[in-house]
Symmetry: C2
Subunit: 115 residues, 2 copies
């Protein structure tokens, strides 16, 4: 992994590992980025992230393995699986749950949604 130096965002790469259960930080926000934050999650069978909102940030989820459900509270439920991408608008309470037997592994990216 190469990290930023000083306070200006710089290019960076990180290698993910499905054997790391739970949360892995990828991008922690400023000064590492301008507004973006990113992380990976490995959820085991039946596990969920928990209901939450990313506030004024919009979110993309990229599924690397497994299957589950992406649930917008008060909105639509979506089946998700390996090699699917999900989008969640700002201020949208949602949850992600592993509904399969394999680990559900996904990357999320959030960014401030100013119009």
């Amino acid at each position: 992994m190469s990290e930023e130096i000083g306070t200006m965002p710089r290019t960076k790469t990180i290698e993910l590992d499905i054997s790391k259960r739970g949360f892995t930080r990828i991008l922690g926000g400023p000064p590492e980025t301008v507004t973006m934050k990113s992380g990976a999650n490995v959820l085991y069978q039946g596990e969920s992230v928990g209901r939450h909102s990313t506030g004024d940030r919009e979110e993309v989820i990229v599924v690397l393995s497994g299957r589950g459900k992406f649930m917008s509270i008060g909105g639509e439920d979506h089946e998700i699986a390996k090699h699917m991408v999900a989008y969640c608008p700002p201020n949208t309470e949602h949850d992600v749950v592993n509904t399969g037997s394999e680990p559900l592994w996904f990357v999320y990216i959030v960014a401030k949604a100013k119009v």
Copy 2:
């Protein structure tokens, strides 16, 4: 795939397919999102995206398969491979090239970087 209705961003999912060589649009920007855009690329051996800058947008790349190089023009080169994530700040000319023998398959997400 479920699409947005009207002009407010809505939750959405899309399934990716490595057999689709080249570019696949995932999120086209407003009104589908607030500022985010996203796409997938399948590059064959030796192929590159071409030098480009995403302007005032910062970018995350999630590699689904293959291996290659993420090159920041005038900056650092990074090896990338399956299950790696790369970050690129705004106004940073860069390129992605497949340096392996398998298809290099990645998702990119860009978002306006206003501070």
